[in-house]
Symmetry: C2
Subunit: 346 residues, 2 copies
């Protein structure tokens, strides 16, 4: 398998995408083609043997070969004509905007590029925390109660303190605050509204247990990761989660009853199938008073949650062979236009 990793892009999580992409070099033995999308959304082919985080922060990558996306893939200009970049499959490793909101999926679908990652609809559902709630409820997975606040129409918060505020559409804990009492509210709202025009409010439950489960549907069925109980102090802030993205070592499995493990897997399957086909996702769950709740769906998890799998590379390769095909469109027959034309006698 020759994998083209697309990363970076115009996102608050641009830097952690770079860290994630570099982490892949440590865990994958296959050939990797690195396609960097910069903050202006120009694509560059980064030499795999020369990739370092400094190449991006220093702007050195601007000297690398620029690529163009068009029907069929990524291309580099040559003196005469152009050259196609070869790979078997793209891995969408853009975290946050552009990558998890559906833009890169749409580009790949439009330009007929095979890719591992959430499809457009799946992206919209997982990127917007309100839509995630609506969808989870529809497929029978519990979620914590919530309230949506909009910048332009402030309203009273109906959920009792302590609460947690989250920008409606970001990942990686950016802009998230725990608010213990009313006096802290105004500052926390300002922070959250810096990142989105809408904010989701949820109860903050002390000591709630959090469990992460990753997985994907391959041609022979579901493949799950181990279940991890993430380390946390109150909750992971951005700096701590950031370190997460460079993780390449196995973690310890959470100690959970078989019943609880099954409950998490069942919830995962209900959420995944068929919306997330083609993606390796990590679902972050809560268990509280023996009930499973979905916290969030990460359709492009930090460093692809490689540290949760026994054989990450085989999984990724299997996934590249299990990408959804979508509806096959026949060529246009122009049947209706022909019939209008004959009706008009033209």
């Amino acid at each position: 398998m020759k994998l083209a990793i697309v990363f970076g892009a115009q996102s608050f999580e641009h830097e952690i995408s770079i860290v994630s992409a570099i982490a892949m070099k440590k865990v994958l033995k296959c050939e990797i083609v690195y396609i960097f999308c910069n903050n202006d959304r120009r694509f560059f082919l980064i030499p795999t043997d020369k990739i370092t985080s400094k190449r991006f922060s220093s702007g050195e990558y601007l000297k690398d070969k620029e690529l163009f996306i068009k029907q069929g893939g990524f291309f580099a200009k040559k003196l005469l004509g152009e050259e196609k970049i070869h790979y078997d499959c793209v891995l969408n490793l853009i975290h946050g905007a552009d990558g998890e909101d559906g833009k890169i999926s749409a580009l790949c679908d439009f330009f007929s590029i095979p890719y591992i990652g959430p499809r457009l609809e799946a992206s919209s559902i997982s990127y917007n925390k309100l839509f995630t709630k609506l969808f989870a409820k529809e497929v029978g997975v519990n979620v914590l109660p919530y309230q949506l606040l909009r910048k332009e129409s402030p309203e009273e918060i109906r959920i009792p303190f302590p609460i947690i505020l989250k920008p409606l559409r970001l990942g990686s804990s950016i802009g998230i605050s725990i608010v213990q009492e009313a006096s802290e509210l105004s500052y926390a709202l300002d922070v959250a509204f810096e990142f989105d025009t809408a904010v989701l409010v949820e109860p903050f439950i002390h000591g709630i247990k959090e469990y992460n489960l990753a997985g994907a549907y391959l041609n022979d069925g579901f493949h799950f990761s181990i279940i991890e109980e993430p380390q946390k102090e109150a909750f992971l802030d951005f700096d701590k989660k950031y370190l997460d993205f460079s993780r390449t070592k196995r973690v310890n499995e959470a100690s959970l009853s078989l019943v609880a493990q099954e409950a998490l897997k069942n919830a995962f399957v209900a959420l995944y199938q068929p919306l997330f086909q083609g993606a390796l996702i990590r679902c972050d769950f809560f268990i509280h008073e023996e009930t499973v709740y979905l916290n969030e769906i990460n359709p492009v998890p930090g460093s692809m949650a490689n540290y949760l799998f026994d054989d990450f590379e085989t999984l990724l390769e299997g996934l590249s062979n299990a990408l959804p095909k979508g509806v096959v469109m026949p060529p246009q027959s122009y049947h209706y236009i022909h019939s209008i034309q004959s009706a008009k006698g033209k």
Copy 2:
């Protein structure tokens, strides 16, 4: 205003998009640039004075100038270098797949092209009839009961006959059947599953009243169309709806009490704001036993529902000045990568 109309694309509604696009020439006085997307998703600049439906059905358009989409807009290759196509704003006039499913929105957002049309999230919500239901319920708009059938996991239909079957993700009545009794079911399912892997089942209510209301949010507030009671025999099939897309003449206003009109407008606002900002949408409602139900949201309505407005062109121009700006991303500071580098002493 110089408007670039993007139309066609890889969609079951490709041909009606062509008809819609040509209809725009009759109703708009402004300068129009026609950008055709063919079934292979290549873009062509169609001379405005030469546009006819035959140009597409005959393949004659293949001799027109081919365009490329990249950062900043659409470009044509020249002997030396390239030339940017100039316009003030794109009008997304692709019906169905590619246009209403979010792909063109994603391309325009990614490549910084201003456009009239639904944004990516709005597209996902309106294109998938299940998501439309979930969203409508969340914002307090009623929907008819429904059941989702998946091709791969058949189940008993729980809704009593007569029922209506709809492919989960298509518009324009394609693949839709009314099923009066069990004996007709199997054929109707086959038809619907030809177009999607999932089918939505709803009760078919004889004599239910249907009302269409279009509108958009401009800088000075909401602008609504007249409310139309569409002509229908049982329900509009594709051939009849098809004619709809070339409509350029005003229709008669539905005879409705002020209370009912207000109820439709309130439902429209609840659905539109803020998700559909930037788009002129048509909401198709039912009124049954004095209750308003949402049937569907058309975020790229046939011929832009121009025939429902008094001054369509001014509305479109106002909308081009009221496009949502989204979250402004600052340039990347590479703060985290710098701090990792200094921690490592690099």
